[in-house]
């Protein structure tokens, strides 16, 4: 590294940074795999659609945790808000799916903006508990407002119209899968753009060293709030996708378990990497699905073991492990 630095480094260092945002061929791999899965495993499409939704949800956590360093256990608040928004619209006569997503994004984003403005002044454990507490309060409110939300029975009577007026959400989940895949792809493009923008770089700066960001004149609070609200909107869209494709919304959409398991999936894949969710979520959900079918009673034991193995052998998630291996290989010759 040093050898090449002396002479040709000037262009190299600058060029590398200037090109960091360009799409690399391997970045298309997950998408090709997802398209292939549609044709290879037609009977797994319902699980596939839920995996895609979970990826979107986990991606939203990655943006705030992995890039802005905001630890949260309450992201389900926004997921649930989005799910209920789309669900209530569909139950009251407006079942158009795409505008449902937009409404969900708006509601969840505003909720993120409002709650973020209050809680983002805190850090660490306090912030973690505040996010959790807000989600719990929202869930309790949804339970209390049984007349509107259906309470613990879940929201009944959603009627989602065919997608683009043409494609029914059928039993086999084909429409749902394609719909989720397209939405995820578009939002991934947006997220990717943000991550590589100066704004995204400054978020990384906040994660790496908040004190220094203040000292270089960065409006840290505002930056954190913006990404928090944006991630909330993404979570809301994920929630709306689940509501529309399963035609059902329950209190569990607001539950702490959803936030917790998304966090786990993200850590397995690798935090602070745009592709962590694409590795962690399918791995965890497919493993869970397989374990749960092989051993419906004690599958959690095997999932637990998997987590501990990841921690012991793949600190920084699987992508972190892969990166270390690549670097080691790069050093050897």
């Amino acid at each position: 590294m040093r050898a090449d630095a002396v002479g040709g480094a000037a262009p190299q260092a600058v060029e590398a940074l200037a090109r960091a945002h360009r799409l690399k061929p391997w970045e298309l791999a997950p998408w090709l795999a997802a398209i292939a899965a549609y044709f290879l495993f037609p009977s797994y499409l319902p699980l596939g659609a839920q995996i895609l939704i979970a990826i979107l949800f986990t991606l939203s956590i990655d943006l705030i945790l992995g890039y802005a360093g905001i630890v949260t256990l309450g992201q389900s608040a926004f997921f649930g808000a989005g799910a209920y928004t789309a669900g209530l619209l569909a139950a009251h006569g407006w079942g158009e799916p795409i505008s449902g997503l937009a409404a969900a994004a708006a509601v969840a984003g505003l909720l993120g903006l409002a709650s973020g403005a209050v809680i983002l002044r805190t850090r660490g454990l306090s912030l973690l508990m505040l996010t959790l507490v807000i989600a719990e309060m929202l869930q309790e409110a949804a339970n209390k407002a049984g007349d509107i939300t259906g309470g613990a029975d879940g929201l009944q009577g959603m009627e989602v119209w065919p997608l683009l007026g043409h494609f029914e959400f059928g039993l086999f989940g084909r429409t749902a899968y394609v719909y989720c895949l397209v939405v995820l792809f578009l939002l991934w493009l947006v997220a990717r753009r943000i991550v590589h923008s100066p704004f995204g770089r400054s978020l990384t700066g906040i994660r790496e060293n908040e004190a220094r960001m203040h000292a270089i004149g960065s409006p840290v609070f505002r930056r954190r709030l913006v990404i928090y609200a944006f991630a909330a909107a993404l979570s809301g869209i994920a929630g709306a996708l689940l509501a529309e494709t399963t035609q059902f919304v329950g209190l569990d959409s607001l539950g702490f378990e959803r936030s917790g398991s998304a966090l786990i999936m993200l850590i397995i894949g690798g935090v602070g990497r745009l592709y962590g969710p694409f590795i962690g979520v399918p791995l965890y959900m497919v493993a869970q699905d397989r374990f749960a079918q092989a051993d419906p009673v004690y599958w959690d034991f095997w999932i637990g073991l998997l987590l501990i193995i990841v921690v012991v052998f793949a600190r920084g998630g699987l992508l972190g492990l892969a990166e270390r291996l690549l670097r080691r290989r790069g050093r050897k010759p």
Binding site: R2, A10, Q12, R201, G205, E208, S218
Partner: protein, 248 residues
């Protein structure tokens, strides 16, 4: 003419403990000024008050004649105030070049942009690279900061602050933790800074202070003991007693 930086009656209490006690201080334009004092004299607290990391209990802070007491840190930076830290405070996981780019991006007001890729603004990267070249660390541009030896990181610390093109620069023990063989580089860089930057150097190392500073303020127990030229300070009996005496 207004001072580059001025504090009037600046106080800070932690409970019953006064860590800053009615500090009146003036940093003239283009000054080479040192702030010294024994351990626990409140030097770093003073820096934190001036930059806005701490809220004062009483008193006012003015930058270029404008009252900034109520402004958050970021706004003060926009008024031309920059600092370095006593302990390296850097983006350790990012490359040296990116560290400097972040500062320059904030200065140019492009850091809030969510649309255009960061890499497409060549002007930021080129400027950052040029800054690294001036400080002699361009060959480390692509390495993550955490892989650099501490002394080299000290230079990045300076480069980030200089990326803000400050009018007032607070240097909190710029050579702390650096082997004496390498500290010369840092001193050379500080000496060669543009004359219109007002420098306030917080320092323990007396050799450094007497080499760099043209005025010295001595802080003891949160209050200004005395201010003067190096010769005056060196000859002051009280300073010898509380400060130099302690060191002997």
């Amino acid at each position: 003419m207004s001072a580059a930086l001025e504090t009037r009656g600046l106080c800070k209490n932690f409970g019953a403990l006064a860590v800053a006690n009615a500090i009146d201080f003036r940093l003239e334009r283009g000054a080479r000024h040192a702030l010294i004092g024994p351990n626990g004299a409140g030097k770093t607290t003073f820096v934190n008050l001036v930059t806005g990391a701490l809220r004062p209990s009483a008193g006012r802070i003015l930058i270029d004649g404008g009252d900034v007491t109520a402004l958050p840190q970021a706004q003060r930076v926009k008024r031309g105030l920059a600092r370095t830290f006593q302990l390296n405070t850097l983006f350790r996981g990012l490359s040296v070049l990116e560290n400097v780019c972040l500062a320059i991006g904030e200065r140019l007001g492009v850091a809030g942009d969510m649309h255009r890729p960061a890499g497409s603004r060549r002007i930021v990267i080129d400027e950052a690279y040029a800054a690294l070249e001036r400080l002699g660390i361009a060959d480390e541009a692509r390495r993550p900061v955490r892989e650099l030896p501490y002394g080299r990181q000290r230079l990045v610390e300076l480069a980030v602050a200089l990326g803000l093109e400050p009018k007032v620069l607070l240097l909190d023990e710029p050579a702390a933790g650096v082997p004496s063989a390498e500290s010369g580089v840092i001193v050379d860089i500080i000496e060669s800074l543009p004359a219109d930057i007002a420098l306030l150097i917080i320092e323990h190392d007396m050799d450094l202070v007497f080499r760099l500073a043209r005025r010295i303020t001595v802080l003891v127990q949160g209050a200004v003991l005395v201010e003067g030229t190096p010769q005056e300070i060196a000859g002051d009996a009280r300073v010898r007693e509380v400060y130099l005496g302690e060191r002997a």
